[in-house]
Symmetry: D2
Subunit: 269 residues, 4 copies
């Protein structure tokens, strides 16, 4: 079992990152275990640490931890959650998904990787089917930057080259991203909007498609750099973790709202 | 009870519109019934007919109809659904919301009015809390066009003036709209992104905030024109109603995908 | 010399289209003349007519016409201008570019094709360098739809396949498009945002990259359909051709502004 | 005359900021000189220093300096240029505007304030008329945040309140901003997209409308904070100052492009 306890003393500037790993393929498929012997979440964690060094404190939790490791306490102490899931999306309980959703809307950053496009939490945040076309046949992926001034695009070549990868292709059924940063091509000819940002409530979300259990993509230094950039970008600048609210404000009163007390008669909304 | 049966023979160019009305305030609050004696849905329907004439065939259904009037058959024969709800959002069953969601992602247009911002279907499509600030104190609302070439903005003055209205103010917790068409100010000083479009799956969504049960806003000719414009815009151009899909495509095969048959081993995704 | 005179009686719904062709390659390079014996502008014109039939009235003008054919009178009677230029961008006089710019800001639609990305008018409207990477080596281009509900994307396969084409690749230095409709891949691995819309002033602009003098791209039925769709989309819905204005409005006066009479003292701006 | 010389030794993290001031109203209008005795540019400079402290090194130049102070050498040593102009937009020479434009496209940040909306440089970057409606009659301005997670929106109340201000109202003829951060209302009822970002080439641009020569807006602590936030945001993360390029890339060669050598025959573009 992986360890979810957050260190107690971290510098104010340290980003508290939790990598959530489904950790099933690694248990069930020897060829995956060979590429990621400590689990994919550990490799993703190491990639973030390699880039952010002591600017980040990174831990991991997995699906089989109690409450999938995603307790209220853990999320309350997490600046950015990184999500990798695939085979077991449906095993993540709705209750935990609701909890993560609330934390994202309240300001927790979220980095969703690869097959996480079909996770419950990503679909809930997007409102769409998040479907796409795919093929796992060793395509070469080229990842092109279309937003060169974005902080997530810094420090990597144009294009990034991943020699062997699963293909993800359009149409990818997501809302138009707030920012489109990367577009990938595959040797088979498909294209994919592979790096996208979304703001939802008080939370910032980065979706990045490269990475798969069957290919050593999370060992690739450029991919690791982009994920680390995404973590830095997704961390909230807001002073407190709080959900958006529905409040009544009297005329001329701009800062102190009342709680909502029902739609009929009394409230008049 | 309102009637959901669609006419059988409609010209190919006729937009089949269904106005969904919650129809509770009209039953419970005499002052609302006075403004909207046939129900708000009827007034909204008449506004669309006034503008689109025989280019639209408009019917209404309400919350208290069986399945809230939103049967699979009705939705399958609806080009654009217009939604007004407020006091009873929670009474709309999740099952029906899921059905409407699937139809939107499959290409049914959706026009969400005013307090529909907090309906289950709108929140499910947005992925956010859809909260805002509000006050019902006879504010004057001015509705300014910021996207003058958009079809939804045609045929109305700049600004539109609504003499008495409920105030809706920022921050409105929605995803950044694909297109921001109108921004409102209120005499109290608040502002609101009052006309927004969103594309989700194969469906087009227009949110328009003016309108309330306590004010005769749906009798206002400019507001009626904008809703009718929104209906026209939201109607799909796609030839068939179909949801986006997740399919595997072999190398070199661009048009015929396979169904997904599971994430482990066999599928390799 | 091509003919710029607009027909006198056209139905109210007829879109008045002018295709502007540089018409140099066709004169200087026999291999281009072979593909486009009547000039590229004529082939583009025929593609629009093939799709819009009597909904459009299409004429052509070229660089070597007096004032490049783009007189005030012609532009005043043009709903949508289609632009193809390449070798002679610098020969288009600034005076004419300024005139076209004013008409676009006042509501004339503009469809810019392929190498028109580097035309003076497109650069002036974008504000950026409009540079890109390129190679003319018979790449196969696949054009993928990422905005399936957009009217410009209707009626064509996903993807469109162009067997031999010049490669245009990212980074394409344009402002983030208002709407990204198509992304292309090339057999060499590059990607390109090949179908983009922009709204500027009262004008709507569609940029579409497929098409080149060395390949028979404007004979391709899908490409012709997209250009025709773009023409329909770019036609203004506004009732009059008028530029945006800077006006002073007194307090409480929303509809009648005063002309600006200078920044110092008197005007107080 | 103000001083353009940049200090020679500045920490790597120090943002080199230049405030460009037109400095005409202050010379010609005693009531402006009373509010801004050292010139508006000096007050703007002090507001940035107050917030960024030793993270920024701020200097000023003005219209009447040789080359308006905007020499190639100065711009080459400027991370972010802040622009305030009004009465004398037309006196800024095209040559200098072209130079500033090149630096923005090459990565220099640009913060455009208030009446700078009609400066040559802003219009050149936007491609539109940048017109608006206005009135200088002591309106109260409320500045509402619609993008609460954006770094530029941090550290200020929602709304910000400016007791007396010039009104700027819609329609503001700009391209749809990449990010809309603030919307203002005025006591007269108008609204304005008052805080907007744009990416152009390798440069980041922030437009912020509050501020005027007739009101002490640049002494307002919240306004000063937003300008400082904008300066931080606009500073490029790119390692070098370089313009986007048009280059030919051979098949399979992704990183080394050739210069363009003309459109006819030899180049084949």
């Amino acid at each position: 079992m992986t360890h979810a306890t957050q260190p107690h003393l971290i510098g104010a500037d340290t980003i508290r990152v939790v990598v959530w790993g489904e950790n099933r393929h690694e248990q069930l498929e020897p060829e995956v275990a060979e590429i990621y012997p400590q689990g994919m979440h550990t490799t993703i964690k190491e990639g973030i640490e390699e880039n952010l060094k002591d600017h980040a404190s990174v831990t991991t939790v997995t699906l089989d931890d109690p409450e999938h490791g995603l307790t209220e306490e853990l999320l309350g102490n997490t600046d950015v959650l990184v999500w990798w899931g695939h085979a077991a999306h449906e095993e993540v309980t709705d209750h935990v998904v609701e909890r993560v959703h609330q934390h994202v809307l309240s300001g927790m950053g979220l980095v969703v990787l690869h097959s996480g496009h079909w996770s419950k939490i990503f679909r809930k945040l997007m409102g769409t089917s998040c479907t796409l076309r795919w093929r796992s046949e060793n395509d070469r992926e080229l990842i092109w930057t279309v937003n060169p001034t974005h902080p997530i695009a810094q420090g990597v070549p144009h294009p990034m080259i991943v020699e062997a990868q699963e293909m993800y292709g359009e149409h990818f059924d997501i809302p138009t991203p707030d920012e489109l940063i990367f577009i990938s091509s595959f040797s088979g000819g498909e294209v994919f909007r592979s790096g996208c940002t979304f703001r939802r409530g008080h939370g910032k979300i980065f979706y990045f498609s490269p990475g798969d259990q069957e290919y050593p993509v999370y060992h690739h230094s450029d991919i690791r750099r982009v994920i680390a950039n995404g973590v830095q970008w997704a961390r909230s600048d807001l002073p407190t973790r709080a959900a958006p609210t529905l409040l009544r404000y009297e005329t001329g009163e701009f800062f102190n709202g009342h709680d909502y007390d029902g739609p009929l008669k009394t409230s008049g909304q």
